[in-house]
Amino acid sequence: MQDKTLFRIMQDRFFKLVVMLLAFLSTLPLLWILFYIFKNGISVINWRFLVNLPKPVGEISGGISNAIVGTSILVLISCIVSIPVGIASGIYLSEHRKSRLSYFVRLSVEVLQGVPSIVIGIIAYLWIVKPVGSFSALAGGIALGIMMLPVIVRSTEETLKLIPYYLKEASLALGVPYYKTILKVILPTGLSGILTGVLLGIARIAGETAPLLFTAFGSPFMNVNILKPVNSLPLLIFNYAMSPYADWQKIAWGASVVLVVMVLFLNLIAKMVAKKWKTIS
């Protein structure tokens, strides 16, 4: 009996050890990736790198300014496309929790969230690029907007659901009309929660490449016309990483550092906003 107990205790400890080991092993690739891109990328980054345009192979001091501008344009378009609809349907879902439409909208949001990004790319191609007749920032922005939409709907719904019911009642009891109660009392209360969702949404799409391959397409030039192709950081990384030229690969490493820092920074801000939101509610 005693022996068995000893065995069981050892077995328990061994299992715990294995669990710890495997859990920490899985963080290793992350450290490896971060280490590697910073090692290769940090030396490339300087002011000129951020403000110059890409140069043909062989010429030095090429930069990624067009990709940074392109990514900003794409993010801006996708925000314009997705935020109003996303917040409005989030409000609908939280106000009509049990309606038939809510059920289907919720289902759609879940399905949309799982649609592979490359499929969204195809859709934006068929809806925008084909009719317009050219790759464009608009098409890319819309593709990214579709990807961001479910994130915003969900975070809006979840946030508004958490707002205490008495707040709404207090406002209604003062004779404030329903829509004003929602817009002036409920939404502002949940603002930081919704903002968190938006930031997480941006962090998610800023690094997306697949939906841009045949929508925004990429371009070596600086472009701010939304009906023309634009470059973006992930596209630039993809194209340069797959190129056989060491110079371009170097630029891709540098761009990776910029992209990773940007995405992680967005996540960090989102987290801080979320924390603030939690202490409020």
Partner: protein, 295 residues
């Protein structure tokens, strides 16, 4: 005054209602657009599209079996590789170290892992993992491609760990505390409680988590595209270069000039959409059912 506010009220209700409708229409629009744009290919190849092995843009023969096989192989392999790791993270966060320094460190790392863009995983894979695999293949006496299904699965497994670990944690947290305490009060060790009470109880939730992770893996594009080797042939081993449904679209969509070629690629997109949707809905359905039962 009163009338004005009534008007605004109605306008407001209409706005939020139609936003909901827009989302519904968006999804239906996606489905029907894919379907109609696939029609030329569906008409030309019918069911042979799923069973044929030839994908030849030159002769105009398109069939998707190699890519279906490549997708399934890569995703399943990635799942198999990632499960021990994500389960460990889930157990550590859900059971061993609730709160405390270890768990917040691990949570932070997992969140970072989830935040890294796909293209960067692919870039890293291309420059680090591919040479390593090539070396291993040489040692094993295989053709040293470096790229291929195995390489893609490895990267994919790292990419889905954060997702499946957080699902796993969610599911493990659903196990009522009273049950665990009952098991401890009978003298069970942590290992025994996990094995006999937590895992059996969380069984269907874990299954759902695996389904949802599979849904993720099936549609992942960039990292896979960069390291899978882009071959049009049916894979013969897990080290073969191959293509997934997503990667063949990513590679060939802009080259596809004639209608049938483009339509075949879109049909692959349609299949991918259907498969991931079914897998996701099934997974979500099970998870929702489990969480309702618990409450």
């Amino acid at each position: 005054m009163k009338k004005d506010s009534l008007k605004s009220e109605i306008a407001f209700q209409k706005t939020i209602y139609f936003s909901g409708v827009v989302i519904l229409l968006l999804l239906l629009g996606i489905f029907f657009t894919l379907l109609f744009s696939s029609l030329p290919s569906i008409k030309a190849f019918g069911l042979k599209f799923l069973t044929g092995r030839e994908w030849d843009p030159v002769s105009g023969n398109f069939a998707a079996l190699p890519f279906l096989a490549g997708t399934l192989l890569t995703s399943f392999l990635a799942l198999v590789i990632s499960i021990p790791f994500s389960l460990s993270i889930a157990l550590l966060l859900g059971e061993y170290s609730k709160g405390g320094a270890i768990s917040s460190f691990l949570t932070g790392m997992v969140e970072l892992l989830a935040g890294i863009p796909s293209v960067i995983y692919g870039f890293w894979g291309l420059f680090i993992l591919v040479p390593v695999i090539r070396f291993i293949e040489l040692k094993l006496g295989l053709v040293p491609y470096g790229v291929g299904i195995f390489t893609a699965s490895l990267i994919l497994s790292v990419m889905i760990i954060p997702y499946s670990a957080s699902l796993g944690k969610e599911v493990i947290n659903l196990v009522p505390r009273e049950l665990k305490e009952a098991a401890y009060s009978l003298g069970g060790t942590k290992f025994e409680v996990i094995k006999r009470v937590i895992l059996p109880y969380a069984r269907s939730g874990i299954f759902a988590g695996i389904l949802l992770s599979l849904g993720r893996a099936l549609g992942e594009t960039m990292a896979v595209t960069m390291v899978i080797g882009n071959s049009h042939f049916l894979p013969t081993s897990i080290f073969s270069p191959s293509n997934t449904m997503a990667s063949v679209i990513a590679n060939e969509f802009t080259e596809a000039v004639d209608t049938l070629y483009l339509s075949s690629l879109i049909e692959i997109g349609l299949l991918l959409f259907l498969i991931t949707t079914i897998v996701n809905i099934a997974g979500r359905y099970i998870i929702n059912k489990v969480s309702v039962e618990v409450r």
